[in-house]
Symmetry: C2
Subunit: 242 residues, 2 copies
DNA sequence: TTGGTAGAAATTGTCAACAAACTAATTTTA
DNA sequence: TAAAATTAGTTTGTTGACAATTTCTACCAA
């Protein structure tokens, strides 16, 4: 599976950054498999750069937890086990809960209005084409991202947008493409916006935490089903082999 | 101010790691001033290594937010403004609150017993020598670290111990060396341990969040006092100059 | 067959030189 | 005199070669 060569020569981006972005998307999309071994020389040749900037890109990918490293022994793409996904949702609940609380205190009226509009668009999308799940999913992250922004806390925003949301995107690529309960999620989003609009920080945090722990329960269910399917499949494999 | 040369040749540590650790401590301790410009060549010579591994160390320091970088324009040591310190305490409240909740659910009886012992030692320290504030402070972080460990959530632990606690240590070196209300803090620690011992996750989280937001209020006060003192001092400077 | 040990191959860690970009000082021009 | 342009100097970005370490493989012994 060929990774796209770098073409943005006009941009004044550093090589390391370009490769960082490309690799990030490749890992999230699954073009580079989970648990895959990363060999510097190989990747450097593939991207047509030397190992120096590549190593910097890899370090950055390590810092957002997409790669794990063992000194002298190389790097591997992260493997999203169910346990790891649970960790992500737990950290997410804590951070986004706080984010919603701060948003209720600090969000401007204009931003709240924009959020309302966003939710209306989402409602339309669900009505019209409930097949476009990818869009729906990206829309979900957009909602959460705007609240993170409104928290007015740079660190919180960074943690959420440059680390957590990337991992979430990767989870979603991995999990079966089944609809992630878009109608229920939309209703919960509306509740949260209402709490923010009425400046009820306490409630906003509570609703956001419920929203996320609810999402985790759904994902957990899906993972269990997936797991049992895999077991059935491997049983069938065994049968056909005999 | 000579930074120690690398002597641990017996260790199988990579040069980059050694310099990373040394630089981390130097920044936290204030041996390298806040806002100071980092020049790769200069530091590389000081440590007797080439720029390759040094750059890797710098990247890692950037990823734990001790350095900030602008492409092509160099790196600077972070400057801890009051706003930034507030951000740290807010993120801390969210993460450690969750950490305490999980600890209440998952901590083993042995670990709880060990926590009790730790608090007794702290109580003795306060009685005997209330001058040894540094020890007291490190002890405080030790308490919080153990709870983070008990959360059994690798990501949460990493965020707290390798990022947040380092920033906190830096804040404490910066803030005036006034006692950080050790007696009140100890009482609150005891409450938290009680909640964990009785497996009351809800309460443990609430108490931890209160503990941290209370600590922030104290620190905020100190920062304000410090600020007004500085203004008075600079006024005096002006007078003496005339 | 199993287990362990040497050597060979592959991979990561480190270095020093070169290229590109930015900063600052000086000169030129209006 | 002040603003803009140019140029020298410094600093970061990038490269390819070399050194150190690990992993693989083949071989031997039990």
């Amino acid at each position: 599976m060929p990774i796209q060569p770098i073409v943005t020569l006009s941009e004044r981006q550093t090589l390391s950054e370009q490769v960082y972005n490309d690799l990030k998307e490749a890992i999230i999309a699954g073009d580079i498999a989970q648990g895959a071994k990363i060999t510097e020389d190989e990747l450097a040749k593939k991207y047509g750069i030397s190992r120096g900037p590549l190593r910097e890109a890899l370090r950055r990918l390590e810092s957002i937890r997409l790669l794990t490293k063992i000194p002298h022994a190389g790097m591997r793409v992260i493997t999203l086990t169910p346990e790891m996904i649970e960790e992500i949702y737990i950290v997410r609940e804590a951070l986004e809960g706080m984010s919603a609380r701060l948003a209720a205190e600090r969000m401007t009226d204009e931003e709240i209005e924009a959020l309302h509009l966003l939710l209306h668009r989402h409602a339309n999308n669900i009505d019209k084409s409930d097949g476009k799940l990818y869009l729906q999913r990206e829309g979900d992250l957009d909602f959460h991202f705007r609240i993170a922004q409104a928290s007015n806390n740079q660190w919180l925003m960074d943690l959420l947008s440059s680390e957590l949301y990337q991992l979430l995107r990767m989870c979603r690529h991995r999990t079966s493409q089944a609809p992630a309960r878009p109608i229920k999620a939309l209703a919960e989003h509306k509740q949260i916006v209402e709490a923010i609009a009425s400046r009820d920080a306490e409630l906003a945090e509570m609703l956001m935490r419920r929203h996320i722990s609810g999402a985790w329960k759904t994902v957990k269910q899906l993972l269990n089903e997936e797991l049992s399917e895999e077991i059935v499949e491997s049983d069938q494999d065994n049968k056909t082999r005999h």
